[in-house]
Subunit: 322 residues, 2 copies
């Protein structure tokens, strides 16, 4: 057995918008310029330790068994049969926890990508996805859903047709499709928000939802802006979860009035996303949503404007110190 | 007021496969070479009379108020404000009633198209669709669903994103996409079959269904045969309705063993459809299904092989006798 080499690798993984109105637990896309960064260092002590969390994650646990990055890295070690070495992680949160922007997914994915590199494993994306999903699972009340982790790792706009067996579909998006995001300064736990939905829905609502999924996917493939716009409707989660977000109704109306194609909750919220035709439109829409949040609810919110379907997670630094 | 002119018009409207596995009430496509034919003649007596029903429709009612063609024609007269003239219809059923091939839709659509022509109204397709839907409604226990009527009228492979307001999406299909159909010689009433489904489904099943809708639409757009195949799964209606069709399980297995991309019930059954890559494959699959039906259930069945997404309804004859 070779002696362990001290080595380090840093990966970034983007924020993601999941559900995308009609595609609950199925559709998601990567957001540019916002993400988590995880640095992994190989240690001679087996297991995973989180040594520091910086940035937006001041209230995220350092307990590696309860942290999505920690669980993803530990599952990767275990799944790869590595028992004689361990990992130390430093996490820099760019995605605010409880924001609905796939914060837990971003940490899990960045950890998996960094761990893969630092251990020299060269695992394929589907394997990394499995490990990141295990990390994400602890943040979702045990429910496995891939609509954050998958676009976070793969990038782009994706449909998760199936997690077992894994079947990921990349959906092309029209040039100029942008999103406006406003994140109110409140936090919603995915696991609690999920419990609100219950276990059953009416058949008629389900039919409306998959009709809109058909419309949205067709609209994205055919660059039919009108169809994309008409299909961005959520009759399943938004009617329940929208009430949790202060001034959601007014933010949505402001977005539509400002020219958004459609507007709904990002994941379980509280971040509100709007799809827009072009970056200028997205800037106007983001301002309108931010103003509505501030004037109606008296709450401040961060705003982001991004292309839809940016890059997935990637290695940014790798060093060997042996 | 001008005196009514004796005139006649004949329209044909194709059989259709609705649901298409994952797209309950939303997806459907037109079948080539099988359809209903309706001849409409203008009369001086207001209202609609059905003078004869030929072909596969020996047990279809001549009562125009209870017949889908009669209701479609009557709604068209009423919707167009025509009170001084009426229509006589002769129906030639090519689509067997209760077969799951959109028999009621084909009659309703052919009647609307023939009535439109004979009255010289030149109504646009969305208006004709409205009238045909009203005809179809009486065959579906009052439920309005457009996944037979729409592909029957428009042709092609369609997604009905919304009926109100009307939003029809045409989905391109890959060259060579064919279907094999086997119609067991038994009858199932759509209205009864619909009642079996109940009013609610589990959220987890609904998510699986719209994940498959996303996959199927993406697969059709991108000519990804593997994705089309993996997406042809119905976890909502088929598990309930499949039991109504003798030897359904064996027919499906035979279809898949013979190389079908996927197989499920056409509409509410009993016709079983399989999508196939190429006409030769569809021929083999149709034989395999027919054999399974015969050997397992001892029931004979008609077989059809067709391209997917053929022509919609059209006028075939028009004559003025004034």
């Amino acid at each position: 057995m070779s002696a362990p080499r001290a080595a380090t690798a840093t990966a970034v993984a983007p924020a993601t918008v999941s559900n995308v109105a009609c595609g609950f637990d199925v559709l998601g896309f990567a957001v540019a310029d916002v993400g988590d960064r995880v640095t992994a260092t190989v240690t001679s002590r087996p297991g995973v330790t989180i040594t520091r969390i910086d940035g937006a994650g001041s209230n995220v646990t350092l307990d590696a068994r309860a942290n999505t990055a920690g669980v993803a890295a530990a599952t990767l070690l275990e799944g790869s049969g590595i028992k004689d070495r361990g990992l130390e992680l430093v996490i820099e949160k760019g995605v605010a926890p409880g924001s609905g922007l796939g914060s837990s997914a971003a940490s899990a994915v960045a950890a998996a990508v960094a761990a893969n590199a630092v251990l020299g494993l060269d695992l394929p994306l589907p394997r990394l996805l499995t490990f990141a999903l295990e990390g994400e699972r602890i943040a979702s009340g045990g429910v496995l859903h891939g609509d954050n982790v998958t676009p976070c790792l793969y990038g782009g706009f994706v449909a998760v047709r199936s997690l077992d067996p894994l079947d990921i579909v990349t959906i092309p998006v029209p040039d100029g499709l942008c999103c406006a995001l406003v994140r109110p300064h409140i936090e919603i736990k995915t696991s609690e928000s999920r419990a609100l939905l219950g276990n059953a829905i009416s058949l008629s609502a389900a039919v409306v939802q998959w009709a809109n999924v058909a419309g949205l996917v067709a609209g994205l493939f055919s660059s039919d802006w009108g169809l994309i716009s008409r299909s961005l409707v959520d009759v399943v989660a938004e009617p329940v979860r929208g009430h949790q977000v202060p001034a959601f109704r007014e933010m949505k109306q402001a977005a539509l009035d400002a020219g958004a194609l459609g507007c709904s909750l990002s994941g379980s919220g509280p971040t509100v996303f709007a799809l827009c035709r072009g970056a200028e439109s997205a800037e106007r829409v983001a301002s309108a949503m931010q103003n509505a949040l501030s004037s109606v609810a008296g709450i401040a919110g961060d705003r982001y404007v991004s292309s839809v379907g940016g890059k997935g997670a990637r290695l940014v630094e790798s060093a060997s110190a042996s």
